[in-house]
């Protein structure tokens, strides 16, 4: 199939009728985790709390052609986790479709029709495993009902199996293609009538034998990412964008010079945003040209003087002092069990331990920079792009153009990495604003790597201050964690300060340790840039601090780190997170998703076993351990490092254990664990974004350093723990990241006796 065909398919296929019936708009709220409050108000959790909720109507997701080809819509975008394969695979398994007769088609943006489409927060399998099982099971039962009706036999005598329905007593068979039209007219089974498969009958779920659907195309350069969109008569654009968040254009010179660059067609002013940044463009001047290179040359000819505004003095060296000052002064108390302050005051010097950790800003730097293609006319817009949150992108485009949501179509292509960056569709709004001036001519707007790093929604920057008092047995009697970082809320509310529930809920407030006095505080510091979600978000600084500090306490107590950590976690038990002051719990029900310390212990044991914890190591080697609980999944990591005489750190091996509940596609889970290990090592060892005069100081992979092949460990052992379909699913994309950096720092300490409290470690200690 050539590129043109693929694009016409993108626009055309969804107008076909699924199962050849009209979609009745049946949208069953999946009855998971709703809790009736005393006032009769139902507090919504999980998928039900997300815009669009879930849809489990087979008529929306499945169509069967007369030749039996089953088309399944993937309504969640693919950014590398494999979900574009995994969720359709769940449907296919439940409906007894043969995977080699299944075609996956990406759904356009339409949350009213498909349910929530925001691939952020490690939620795709967590929220859609069960709804997609229902889709497949309902389709299977409708096919069975159609066959029974055709044969005039009781439905109990027929059974769907591998793309056919079998009449068991007679051995007669009908293929899915022959039944499709009649099946679509059958009522959609729901409630008690809907029969999910017994897990022992799964053919694909949990087996890890299904390869991702795009694999062949990727290797041949034929897979289409947002940046690959092509439309007839298309022109190309880049933007000279505000270099400081909140800066406004004062003067522009060189417009004529820019327009004189061969190939440059037009300059389009993009206004600076007002109010909170949200997902609005930063503003600047777009250059439209016959190709991207010409647009870049036109941009280079422009000289823009900026009014930097209040963020123009943002400076990372100074800001660290601001963070440290806040981290050393009393903060806003968020959790207070017992009296940690009193315990500290009363403790002898020798029993006190304190430490402070620094974790810098990080850029996502997905290999595909942001890009969007748009065609805009007076009453409609069509967009081709790669976004994590297609609804937000479409909504932002509609508002910017003064159109209704229904007047904007958004085709979501493959995402060439995202890691949280592509949840913020400022680049899509830029593209439609430029396309609006082009009289219906499509415009592809591309960010260069420098644009991407200069104008990212960065991972926060943080100082974590911890204090503990050890008892006579070496175990902590008190624990104080004061976490200070600019908050993501500042993106949505100007001037917001202090970490909110969703931030401290990531490994700060919800530490489940057996300690009588626990105090968690946050400090107020202003944000001077756009703070966004980065894969595993606030778990990065919090887990780094907490898991390094536990190792420091074990050292102070003269105990083995692993035994000490297990003692802190305590015996297997289920903790309601609200009892730890965590009101957020990743939006999940605290009853349905308690913190299970047994599962925590299991991953620690599995990682330690994998790495043969306690073995005698060669000179200069060290093993370091850490665990994290994030996105309803349990992870532990052991890193083995070798540090040579020059202090150069070499990562020898990583063992990672994960318990994510049911394992839908174990092979892809292992891939996420391997990738999470690399991303965790990368941020621990080398990556840092700094500011001077309000401007990001890095611009490309020469100064924003990420891990390369020769620096990566040759061995990453993955250990999947407790495959359990009876617990609700946990996330997979993000949980592998948080334990890696602290495990590495703990390994360096084990190898050298040097304690790394600042990231990045920079490879030489």
């Amino acid at each position: 199939m050539n590129t043109r065909d693929k694009f016409s398919e993108l626009s055309g296929v969804q107008r076909r009728h699924f199962l050849q019936a009209t979609a009745g708009g049946l949208s069953l709220a999946v009855g998971l985790g709703g809790e009736v409050w005393a006032q009769g108000v139902v507090k919504k959790y999980g998928a039900d709390s997300m815009p669009g909720g879930t849809v489990d109507n087979p008529l929306v997701f499945v169509s069967i052609a007369p030749d039996g080809l089953v088309t399944i819509l993937a309504h969640r975008a693919e950014m590398g986790t494999g979900v574009r394969t995994s969720l359709p695979m769940v449907v296919a398994d439940e409906m007894e479709a043969r995977w080699d007769r299944v075609k996956v088609v990406q759904a356009d943006s339409d949350e009213a029709r498909f349910g929530n489409q925001n691939v952020d927060g490690s939620r795709s399998v967590r929220h859609f495993f069960v709804p997609m099982r229902r889709v497949g099971a309902a389709a299977r039962q409708m096919l069975e009902a159609a066959a029974a009706a055709r044969w005039g036999v009781p439905v109990g005598q027929v059974r769907a199996m591998q793309h056919e329905v079998l009449h068991t007593p007679s051995g007669r068979r009908l293929g899915y293609g022959e039944l499709a039209a009649e099946a679509a007219k059958q009522p959609v089974p729901k409630g008690e009538a809907l029969k999910l498969k017994s897990p022992k009958d799964f053919r694909y779920i949990g087996k890890g034998q299904v390869r991702v659907v795009d694999l062949q195309d990727i290797g041949r350069g034929k897979a289409l990412y947002g940046i690959d969109a092509r439309q007839p008569d298309m022109v190309f654009a880049v933007v000279a964008r505000a270099p400081v968040v909140g800066a406004k254009v004062r003067t522009v010179t060189g417009r004529e010079k820019a327009l004189a660059v061969p190939g440059v067609l037009k300059l389009v002013d993009i206004p600076a945003y007002s109010g909170a940044p949200v997902f609005q463009p930063l503003g600047g001047v777009a250059v439209v040209a016959r190709n991207t290179w010409a647009a870049m040359q036109g941009r280079a000819a422009l000289q823009i003087e900026w009014d930097d505004g209040p963020n123009g003095s943002y400076d990372s060296v100074q800001y660290r002092k601001t963070l440290e000052a806040a981290a050393r002064a009393p903060g806003k108390m968020l959790r207070n069990d017992g009296d940690a302050l009193d315990a500290w005051k009363g403790a002898p010097e020798g029993r006190r331990v304190q430490a402070e950790y620094y974790i810098p800003h990080l850029a996502h730097a997905s290999m595909e920079p942001p890009s969007a293609t748009a065609r805009v006319s007076a009453d409609k817009a069509e967009i081709w792009t790669s976004v994590q949150n297609p609804h937000a992108a479409r909504d932002g485009a509609a508002k910017a153009l003064g159109l209704k949501l229904e007047q904007v179509t958004l085709h979501n292509l493959l995402l060439g990495g995202a890691f949280g960056r592509k949840s913020k569709p400022d680049y899509v709004t830029e593209a439609v604003l430029v396309a609006k001036t082009m009289e219906g001519r499509p415009v592809k707007l591309t960010w260069t790597r420098e644009d991407d790093i200069h104008a990212d929604y960065l991972h926060t920057v943080s100082v974590e201050h911890l204090e503990a008092v050890l008892g006579a047995d070496g175990m902590p009697q008190s624990w104080l964690h004061r976490t200070v970082a600019p908050t993501i809320s500042s993106l949505f509310q100007q001037g917001a300060m202090g970490e909110g529930p969703s931030e401290v809920g990531m490994t700060a407030i919800n530490v489940p340790f057996v300690i009588p006095n626990v105090r968690i505080e946050t400090g107020d510091v202003p944000a001077h840039t756009r703070i966004g979600w980065f894969r595993s978000v606030f778990n990065i600084p919090h887990a780094f601090a907490v898991q390094c500090f536990v190792a420091e306490l074990a050292k102070a107590a003269g105990r083995d780190h692993k035994e000490y950590l297990l003692a802190l976690i305590g015996p297997p038990r289920k903790i309601n997170p609200t009892t730890l002051g965590d009101s957020w719990n990743y939006t999940e029900s605290p009853e349905r998703y308690p913190i299970d310390t047994g599962r925590m212990r299991d991953v620690v044991e599995a990682a330690a076993r994998g790495a043969r914890w306690g073995r005698k190591l060669p000179k200069g080697h060290g093993l370091g351990l850490a665990f994290a609980y994030s996105f309803m999944s349990y992870t532990a990591t052991v890193v083995e490092v070798a540090v040579n005489d020059k202090g150069e750190v070499h990562v020898v091996a990583v063992d990672m254990a994960l318990d994510c509940g049911p394992q839908v596609n174990p092979e892809r889970i292992r891939a996420q664990m391997q990738g999470g290990a690399i991303m965790g090592l990368s941020l621990a060892l080398m990556s840092e974004i700094t500011f001077e005069k309000g401007r990001v100081q890095q611009g490309n992979f020469n100064d924003y350093v990420v891990m390369r092949h020769y620096e990566a460990p040759r061995t990453i052992r993955t250990h999947l723990v407790n495959d359990n379909i009876d617990v609700p699913p946990g996330g997979v994309g993000e949980p592998p990241v948080p334990p890696v950096a602290p495990a590495l720092a703990n390994a360096i300490f084990a190898a050298t006796g040097k304690r790394m409290r600042d990231l990045p470690i920079r490879q030489v200690v």
């Binding site: 694999l215 062949q216 990727i218 690959d228 290179w293 290999m367 420098e450 391997q674 690399i678 092949h709």
Partner: protein, 157 residues
């Protein structure tokens, strides 16, 4: 006008001679398999062959390909080593997001043509110009070794 051979066909291009080959391929000729990642020859996503040598298209001006032969990932399956590497990449399920993988595969093919049985150190050397942000390095190494073994065995894939 610049004339060169692109995937074994003669190609005439009107773009300015200083235009990097990357943008000629992607924007003018519609060959989007060659990816933009950095624009500074730092990430390898745009790797193509120029008269058989692996080069970064983002820093290769159009003028430099005049009269020469350019091969992109779209034509890789015409090559025995290319097919073996593509197949190994599939069997190892290397890709996550997959964006960098066309460039990784182009570099791996170049490596195996120069060094049919690479050591781990030679794999490091041959592949370290290509960044993968998803972190697929362990599987890339595995796939290179798989392809190397297959090719040494004389198997045609």
């Amino acid at each position: 006008m610049v004339r060169f051979t692109l995937n074994q066909q003669t190609q005439d291009v009107q773009s300015a001679p200083e235009t990097p080959l990357l943008w000629v391929l992607r924007d003018e000729l519609g060959l989007t398999g060659t990816k933009f990642g950095c624009g500074m020859a730092l990430c390898g996503a745009c790797t193509v062959y120029l008269d058989g040598e692996a080069v970064r298209a983002c820093t290769t001006p159009l003028s430099a390909v005049s009269g020469k032969a350019v091969t992109t990932v779209e034509a890789l399956e015409n090559d025995r080593v290319g097919r073996a590497v593509q197949q190994a990449w599939v069997e190892t399920s290397v890709a996550q997001c997959g964006y960098c993988q066309a460039g990784q595969i182009m570099s791996a093919v170049a490596l195996l043509k120069a060094t049919p049985k690479p050591t781990d150190e030679q794999i490091d050397e041959g592949m370290s110009g290509n960044i993968c942000r998803c972190g697929t390095y362990v599987r890339i190494r595995e796939a290179v070794k798989l392809a190397s073994g297959r090719l040494a065995g004389g198997a045609r894939s």
